[in-house]
Every structure is written in C-alpha cells, then in structure tokens.
Subunit: 302 residues, 2 copies
C-alpha cells in the first residue's frame, strides 16, 4: 500500500507511521519486522516470494545460530541480520529508534519518511487457549493457528507517540489506514495517547482500506480475529470495528469489488464505502489503488 503511494512520485509527500508493537528481541538483537518490511519494500529490496525479508538472501548465519542452539523459528537471513545488528548497535549507543530508522532508510535510498509510532517499547501479547503468547510466538512460530481470545499491548499506556508522528499527522492532507490487521497492526498505533486526537485534529480525510477481500483476509489472521475478538466478519465487520472503537474517525472504507455485498452494511456503520481494486499483485495494482484513494479523498495529496 505504501509502495503504491510511493509510485506516485512527487505528487505525494509520503510519510508512513509504522507499528512497533510486534518488535522483538532475538539473539540480543532489536528486530522491527513491520518497519523493515516497509523499508525493504520501498528500497526495492523486498523478497517478493515471502512478503518479509530481503531478496537474494543467504542463510549462513541462521545455520550457525542453529548449531549454537539458538531458536531459529524467526528466520533471519544474512542481509536482514545486518540490519538488526546495526539497529541494535545504534540503539545501544543511545540513538532513538526514529533516528536509526531514518538513517537506515537513507542508506537504502528510501525517499519516503518512515516513522516508528513510538520510541518507547510496546509489545503485543495474544491470549490463546495455551495462555498469553508474545506476538511473534503466536504469529510466526505457531503460524497464527491459535484462536486469538484477547489482546493486550504491554507498555501502551506509558509509551508516547513521537513528536515526528504527531506533527506528520497534524499536518497531513490525507490519512490512509493501510489494509493491515486492524487489531494488531493498526490497533497499537491508534492506541497510543494522542494519536486519534492528532488524526481528528488534522481535518484531513481519513480513508481506511479493508484487509478483507471476498470475506477472507488477504494474508494473516485478520478475518479470524474479527470473528474471535469482535464477533463479526467481512469488510462490514472492519467498518463496524473502526466505527465502534474510533467513533467518527474514519470517513471512507475502501473495499474490494468482490465485497460489493458489504456496501450497505459499511454505510450503515456510518462510513462511506469506496469500491476499489484492493488486491495488489504487482506495482500497477498498487499504484491503481493509491490513485483511487487519492481521487476519492478529493485529490489533495499530502
């Protein structure tokens, strides 16, 4: 989604606020999976086959980590590992995650601004039948098979959004909630004190993009979380999720043509449905979706 807007070039000044509640520490390294996926994608380095990690990756370090008895279910390729080594070293030297992320993006030639939602730690925990799990334990190690019964975001009450995030939202001309999981990807960002207020105060149109197409999540457990956590389903469920949790915040919800049947239910939730080609298979798809959102929001990019 971010890539789609980046493809519009100078027509858009793109700032991405990234979720850090699924960050983790592994082998003593600070790993920021959401930030990295965006960074690698915008740098043209993403692995198209996996949706995470770096393309042309090698796995020598992982084989060695395994020999040392380290847990390797969170697969770190050699190129990716270098990112975590550098991030960790700079954080330990006293730099803030915002500054480190900015340096890494600059080094990789990313033109957009990528901002961690916070420089303070927030960690998502998922309650399952087996108890509370760290997010990546639930998501990667157990492949989000477990039913998510409850979520909590450790640290969310004391974490502050950064000045850069608040300023970017306050001055935005269009705010898009990406077709990410509204519970575990969008939720922590909106859960930080001051974020919803900054969005509302900006006066910018707020367009959410449904991660549900044809009733199912394009990837990940968003559809199952909708059922287990909201007792709801489909893109209509996404609309009701945003409308109930953040009243008045989201003006439009982009839903795929395959979900046309949800149109009236979205409207009934108080959100304008925006029919859009939401499945992004290639850069042309990504760009088209960005264009549709931009046009619907009044063509005022920012």
């Amino acid at each position: 989604m971010a890539h789609g807007f980046a493809l519009l070039g100078d027509r858009v000044q793109l700032t991405i606020v990234g979720n850090t509640a699924d960050d983790l520490e592994l082998h003593g390294l600070h790993i920021s999976p959401d930030l990295d996926t965006v960074m690698y994608t915008l740098a043209g380095l993403a692995n198209p086959d996996t949706g995470w990690g770096v393309r042309d990756e090698t796995w020598s370090a992982r084989a060695t980590l395994e020999r040392y008895g380290e847990a390797t279910w969170f697969a770190l390729g050699d190129r990716d590992l270098a990112t975590h080594v550098v991030r960790t070293a700079r954080l330990r030297a006293g730099a803030r995650l915002t500054a480190v992320t900015s340096q890494l993006c600059l080094s990789l030639g990313v033109a957009a601004r990528l901002l961690p939602m916070s420089d303070d730690p927030v960690r998502t925990k998922v309650r399952t039948a087996d108890g509370w799990l760290d997010f990546q334990d639930y998501f990667v190690r157990r492949r989000h098979r477990d039913e998510a019964l409850e979520l909590r975001f450790d640290g969310i009450d004391s974490a502050r959004p950064t000045r850069a995030v608040v300023d970017a939202l306050a001055s935005a001309q269009l705010i898009v909630l990406a077709p990410s999981n509204p519970f575990v990807s969008i939720g922590p960002i909106l859960g930080l004190a001051g974020i919803v207020g900054a969005i509302a105060g900006s006066g910018a149109p707020v367009v959410a993009v449904s991660p549900i197409v044809g009733g199912a999540a394009l990837r990940g457990p968003a559809d199952r979380m909708l059922r287990s956590l909201d007792a709801d389903a489909g893109s209509a469920g996404i609309a009701r999720h945003y409308a109930q949790r953040y009243p008045g915040l989201v003006r439009q919800l982009a839903i795929d043509d395959a979900d046309a049947a949800d149109e009236s239910a979205v409207r009934a939730a108080g959100i304008q449905p925006l029919m859009a080609p939401a499945v992004m298979r290639d850069d042309a798809d990504r760009r088209r979706l960005a264009e549709v959102i931009l046009a619907a929001a009044g063509g005022r990019p920012g």
Copy 2:
C-alpha cells in the same frame, strides 16, 4: 599448534589459554579473534585459505553493513557473524566469556578446553609514527605495515586470569607457548598477574615454539616487532626475549631446522634449543611438531 596436539587424541588432555587482548567491539558485537581462530580450527571449520574465519563462508551481511555506512575493514563473514551475535547476547545476559566460549566450543564439537586468559577486558594498543592505534586497527586495517614503536595493554593491571586458567596451569604436565607473536599474543597472557607464577609453580616443563623460521615470521609482524621493540632478531632473539622478560620460565625453545645457526645463541640465553620441523603446512606437519615437543618434554602429556 593446538590442532597438532588435538590430533594426538586421548594421549593428550588439551587445554588452550587464548589471548583476549586483541578482542574488539564492532557493530556493537564482541569479537574474540584469537579464541575464534582456535575454536574454528579445532572444530574443523577454519578457512584454510585465510588463516581466520570460517570455511564455506558467505558475505551477504558484510555487503549490507557496507550499505549502512559501517566500517567493514574487519571482514566478518555471515557464519562468523553468528558467532559474534551469540557471544554478545550471552555476555550481555550476564554470562562470563569463559562460560560462553565453553558453550560455543561444545556446540561446535570441540573436544579440547579453550579458556580465555581472563573474563576482564584487556586491550592491546600499538604506538606507531601516527600515534597509538587499537590493535586491530594496526593489525588488520593497516595490515601491520607501521613500525611498532611501543605496546601497552590497557586493563592488564586490573584484569585477573580466571580460576580455570590458573588451575589448568597449576596442574599441567607440559606447558607449551605456541609459535604465536611473543609480544602481542603471548605477552598479554604472561602479563596477567599470577600467570607466570602459576606456570613456574606447576613444575611442568615449559617449551616455547619460535614463530621465526629462516629469520622471518611465518606470518604477521613478529620479526619486525623483535627488531623495533627488542632491537633483536631471529629465533635467537625470541630466546633472549623470553629469557630476559621471564627469567627461568622457558626451559626449551623449539626452532626450525632452517634456524640451526641460532642454536648456540639460544643456548647462550639459558634456554635449551629443540630442533623441530616448525613449518606446519598440513595436519601431518602439525601432528609431527606436537610429537617432537611431547617427546622432548619427557613424554609426559597433560
């Protein structure tokens, strides 16, 4: 050298005390080049072409580190990097270097005991015409081109040898000073408070092996350091170095047949010359040198 003794199998209970004064911190990682070279060699993982690092190595992380603007003159391969990541994580978690080294060796199937000389930091600095340099800056980045005018070992006065090292020396039946650089590899170990006393107190024969063959160091700057720091040269210079700095400590000095001319000068320094095939090109050479030393020391392995 250590590998030669390891090849003798059950006939020898091998303990290696490794120099840690050339350890360094790079990319926030604790790197122990001397320990790692021994560990990789005894694990059968050493790179035969370089004399450092791991065989079948890949270099993806290094390329990425370079993109991030990190200094990459100290070349870290992907497999090697995993060692440093794990070591650093375990040290930060509170483990001592001795324990971490032991775990890593166990994981790699190293049968010998590899002991860091100390769990406390000691750092070698080399004074050159350009001033004081960190050891690896002098050794690797500047390829030991500079004349070494003076050495110092920061931390040596407060660092203590570990209990394990002192106990191993006290109970040894044979102590061999490897054909390493007597200034920067052997020097820091012997410079720790209590080490020389523990060696002398053990009553074990002490055999040093000259790193000089045919008047020149087999590798590294030992020959040039002999001239610039001791105003001496050759294997005779090595004998005088040990005899003057550690009076009465070294009983025998193994020198290569190519240095037969140095035999009487070694004897004049109060050390018995031991003619030995000191150039180790393959495992047969390594084993033969170990056999010669073992036989000369009275055949009492330990």
